[in-house]
Amino acid sequence: MATSDWLAAFEKTAAAIGAWEPSSAATLSALDAVRIDFLGRNGRLTEVLKGLKDLPLEDRKLYGPKAQSARAELEGRIAARKAALESHRDLSLEKSGVDVTLPASPALRGRLHPVTLMMGEMTRVLGLMGYSLAEGPLVETDWHNFEALNIPAHHPARDAHDTFYLKDLPTLLRTHTSPVQVRTMEKTKPPLKIVCPGRAFRRDAVDASHSAVFYQMECLAVGHGITFADLKGTLEVFMRTLLGSSTRIRFRPSFFPFTEPSAEVDVSCLLCGGQGSGGGGKGCSACKQSGWVELLGAGVVNPAVFKLVGLDPEEWTGFAFGIGIERLAMMKYRIPDIRLFYENDLRFLDQFDEDIL
């Protein structure tokens, strides 16, 4: 290209650039159109600049810087206009702000049932203490539910187990989670440490504190030289982890055919902290002013049970405890009526959650 032609083209473009009034670009997109028009890949100025390389060297030296400075100047004007337009837009966004006090929609998250949460927490703690999960059927045999637990037919201890029987079948609905002990010992050689959470059934009239369906958690440890002291220590660690390190526990003699010695275990009342009275000397209703709440049954595995399940009672010793899950949840969350657990009212279910603190 001849220098004169190029010069003409350059002068023309430079004139156009000179004629452009930045304020004429009212929007960012209009501004961008201008930028593309001059500076785009095939823009007018770009084309002119591309033509530079065809000029003789002296001309290139002469006109090159001129053309470059024209581009720099245009870029500067565009940038300045862009900044002005942007800050103007920001300002208008600021002015047109939403009513931030409008309510947000609730997160569509469901909830786990408090029994599940409680059970999960209990098995988690016992899992950390080395206990594995075990389970068994809900429809049980008399052997697993009673006989093998040293509760023969016509034993008065059966009075405490109002049992549902199945029609035309020799089976029943398990009245506790203890048959899982039997099933596990029948098939697994000790040493073993298991925890068995699950449903159990009693033919009790349903009221605020009785449910025909309820959840229990059984824990069993069998090994060499396991003692009542081990039961005490295990329950203390378990309860304090679960309910707080200031929790105290108390053992009272009791009777279960499958443990000997047996104990009822009380924990210090969560509501009054074991004082037996609330603030201002008022009596605590949760523990009937005693400061203690009866929570679970426990004991050293009766050697008769080992014999029944085919383990050598001279070799093995162990302990077991069983705890009502709703009862614990009722105590922990101050739920007054066990029936609430089975009504599934959303206003009840919504209150339980895996809290993050």
Binding site: T116, L133, H154, L166, T171, K193, F228, P253, P261
Partner: protein, 799 residues
């Protein structure tokens, strides 16, 4: 069991009050259920004599009386019409505490009254409330009126565990308190009466000695049956028994005092003058003392005379031979029956009594003779002036020597994990034993006859712990070999699926395992597959649920009744179906979705929840099993009741091992039955056992392609009858390597689309892992797809 504190104090020297005692009982393993005060609810009331009655100066209906308590005379205003000079009355002095409050000095119509003459009502006593109480003229003035009425008592309701029948009496409890708390037992007065050797008991025959180890019989003549003396009636009433007549009351008294049940027969009504302890014969019946007739079976042990049963052994006597006012001769039974025999009979007949309660737990075989003597002695002294008592006939086929228990202190400590000194262990065992012998380290104990629960070293370990205190046992944790903790697959899948569903916006529910026959019928489960309860609690709870859906429907209904708008529930639990082997119990997971997707909200869409939400949820759940391959063909599989879902709106998800899940719109007839038909609930149900069995493939990271993808949106018009799944299958069938995904982005029918057709807008995303696709390649692939859809389904590009 009810324990009278006064009665207990006659047996053991209790120093403390009833409430303090009740506080100590739990440490001994005795539950203290409640404490109740009995007797006069007032103090400070004395007997007094009305010396004179004058008119009240300012009131016609009132009188002014002079009343003397023997030491002082009081001036008292009285409003009762029946008050008269010379009467003996209960008189409340100023300061007396009455059920209505504390009495203070008062001016009544201007005249000061220094007390009050009381009516029954004012003292909370039974009787005529129209005027003041008028006492026996022989009553001495100045006595404490509450004490005169028998004083007050405290009743402890204690809970005795099934292994301790020896505590089911005042004496038994006294003995325990003496052993464990070191309280002194009170001497028992030996029953004093002269046996008349010229009389002899009826002969007693025990053909089944295994059921009756001991029977002590005694004949008592010259009895005149009447009312019991006050002390006896007071005792029985205190523990909740109704006095009947003196003979019956004495047998009840001995039962509650010593724990030994007794029975008194009218000897003249015992035919043939002999007693047989035998099992009932088929067809025999007995009208029992409760007025009901019981058909007896050969499992029931009875007491019979020469002809007929006269009592159900250890449970209840017969009406025909009961002691009545006409009775002159009494045959007194003090026996021991084996626990299983009595329990079986009592359960068969559904008849329980204080006697059967004790027998089925085990009574003290050695107590029978003493109890017979005590009762005879009381009958002799209370029931008439010329009572003659035969010597006892003691038939004792079940005499047994107690078996010795050999233990060492080390053994006890090794069970308890304790370090009790040898001496303490020995002393504790000695306290509960009839006898001990120590040779070197070995202690040999003989249990008392009333402690049949003591047989092993474990039993003695419990006694040692109980007496020395559970709190003295240290706390340790078991040492055990470290093993990997395995999470049970079945429990893990239920737990994790639950968490995922909660994250997807569903609330976990727990419902009962029982449903009504009506509900199972609605599910159209064939009756031979129902698992019925033999002894349901209520009519609504007769069948074990074959599906979780009815329970969820019940919960849904409750929430809808309580104005819940949008309800999404799930449950994870067992379902039951009858099969050849008995009951097939399987873990299921089910959910129900109802109402708008989101509760009404200014930003929320008004979209209703339906089958597609159920699909979303199930697909997300199944995506939690990496590598799980599933299709949506197939029948109902193991799920109960095909017609739970609306035909035409149901999907079954199958993998290699069977039908994993089903979902769909709830059949409207079920929605109607549970009154949740305002919306169309969607449900899903999953067989967790099949899911847990499904093998999950290894999880390996797939690097996303670094090259850009290209996409094409194509809208095709196609006949309604072509299911989308067929369309997608046809596209996949082309195996176009560049095709990364197909998404249905819009669905339209109506204006511009021919009748019977719909327009599907599909977004195809093309991508290769190793290079950027050329535009021409993408277009060629899109054309290929269009051609295939045209060929297979007559689909055309929408204009």
């Amino acid at each position: 069991m009810k324990i009278s504190f006064n009665w207990l104090k006659e047996r053991v020297g209790v120093e403390c009050g009833a409430i303090e005692l009740a506080d100590m009982l739990p440490r001994l393993g005795i539950g203290a259920e409640s404490i109740e005060s009995l007797g006069p609810a007032f103090t400070g009331v004395v007997t007094a004599e009305v010396l004179a009655k004058d008119k009240h100066p300012n009131a016609d209906r009132l009188s002014l009386c002079q009343v003397s308590d023997g030491s002082r005379t009081y001036s008292v205003v009285c409003g009762a019409p029946n008050v008269a000079a010379g009467q003996k009355v209960p008189f409340a002095r100023v300061g007396a505490v009455l059920p209505g409050g504390k009495l203070s000095k008062a001016k009544i119509r201007g005249v000061e009254s220094e007390g009050m003459i009381c009516s029954c009502k004012e003292l909370s006593l039974e009787g005529d409330a129209s005027g003041i109480m008028v006492l026996d003229p022989a009553t001495k003035a100045g006595q404490d009126f509450a004490a005169l009425l028998g004083g007050s008592d405290t009743i402890l309701d204690v809970e005795i565990t099934a292994n301790r029948p020896d505590l089911l009496s005042h004496l038994g409890l006294a003995r325990e308190l003496s052993i464990c708390l070191g309280l002194p037992l009170k001497e028992r007065t030996e029953p004093a009466f002269k046996e008349d050797d010229s009389l002899s008991s009826f002969p007693v025959d025990i053909p089944s000695p295994g059921a009756c180890p001991r029977y002590v019989g005694r004949l008592i003549e010259g009895v005149s049956v009447g009312e019991s003396p006050d002390w006896l009636k007071t005792k029985l009433k205190a523990v909740g028994l109704r006095p009947i007549n003196d003979v019956a009351d004495i047998t009840n008294y001995i039962l509650l005092d010593s724990g030994q049940p007794l029975h008194a027969f009218d000897a003249d009504l015992i035919e043939g003058g002999r007693i047989v302890v035998r099992f009932a014969r088929a067809g025999e019946k007995l009208l029992a003392l409760d007025g009901k007739e019981y058909p007896l079976t050969p499992e029931c042990l009875v007491i019979a005379d020469a002809v007929k049963p006269v009592a159900i052994a250890g449970v209840m006597g017969g009406e025909a031979t009961a002691v009545t006012a006409r009775t002159r001769r009494v045959f007194l039974e003090s026996a021991n029956f084996t626990p299983v025999t009595v329990r079986r009979g009592s359960q068969l007949l559904r008849l329980r009594s204080d006697a059967s309660y004790r027998f089925e737990r085990g009574t003290d075989v050695s107590a029978a003779e003493w109890a017979s003597r005590s009762a005879a002695s009381l009958i002799a002294s209370l029931c008439g002036g010329s009572v003659r008592v035969s010597p006892a006939l003691d038939v004792y086929p079940g005499r047994r020597e107690p078996s010795p228990i050999r233990v060492t202190a080390d053994r006890i400590n090794s069970i308890l994990g304790s370090e009790f000194p040898r001496d303490e262990v020995h002393r504790a065992i000695e306290a509960v034993s009839a006898q001990i012998r120590v040779e070197g380290d070995v202690l040999t104990a003989l249990a008392p006859t009333w402690r049949s629960d003591l047989a092993t070293s474990s039993d003695l370990a419990e006694e040692v712990a109980r007496i020395l205190g559970y709190d003295r046992i240290p706390s340790t944790v078991p040492s055990s070999a470290l093993r990997p903790i395995e999470e049970l697959r079945s429990l893990a899948v239920a737990r994790k699926a639950g968490s995922r569903l909660a994250a997807l916006g569903l609330h976990e529910s727990l419902t009962y395992d029982f449903i009504s026959e009506k509900s199972v019928s609605l599910l159209e489960v064939p009756e031979e597959r129902w698992v019925r309860l033999a002894n349901p609690l209520t009519e609504d709870w007769t069948v074990l649920r074959p599906s979780l859906i009815p329970g969820l429907l019940q919960s849904l209904r409750r929430n809808v009744e309580r104005q819940a708008e949008s309800v999404r529930l799930f449950e994870s639990g067992k379902v039951y179906l009858r099969d050849a082997s008995g009951v097939r119990e399987r873990p299921h997971l089910a959910g129900i979705l109802y109402g708008p997707l989101v509760p009404a909200h200014w930003r929320a869409s008004k979209e209703k929840t339906g089958i597609f939400e159920a699909k979303t949820i199930l697909a997300d759940l199944l995506s939690g099993v990496p590598g799980l391959e599933w299709t949506t063909e197939g029948g109902n599989g193991g799920f109960a009741g095909e017609n739970l879902l609306l035909p035409g709106s149901r999907v079954f998800i199958r993998n290699a091992s069977g039908v994993l899940a089903r979902l769909g719109t709830l059949h409207p007839k079920l929605a109607r039955a549970w009154e949740v038909d305002r919306e169309q609930p969607a449900v899903f149900e999953l067989d967790l056992e099949l899911l847990a069995e499904a093998s999950s493939g290894p999880k390996v990271f797939q690097p996303p392609s670094p090259f850009p993808s290209s996409w094409r949106d194509l809208s095709v018009v196609i006949r309604d009858s072509v299911p989308y799944a067929d369309l997608e299958a046809a596209i996949r069938g082309l195996r176009i390597a560049e095709l990364d995904s197909v998404e249905l982005v819009d669905l339209y029918a109506g204006k511009g689309v021919a009748d019977g057709h719909r327009s599907l807008s599909l977004r195809f995303v093309f991508q290769l892992p190793d290079r950027t696709l050329k535009d021409a390649e993408v277009s060629a692939a899109a054309d290929k797809i269009l051609a295939e859809l045209g060929k297979k389904f007559g689909a055309e590009l929408r204009k």
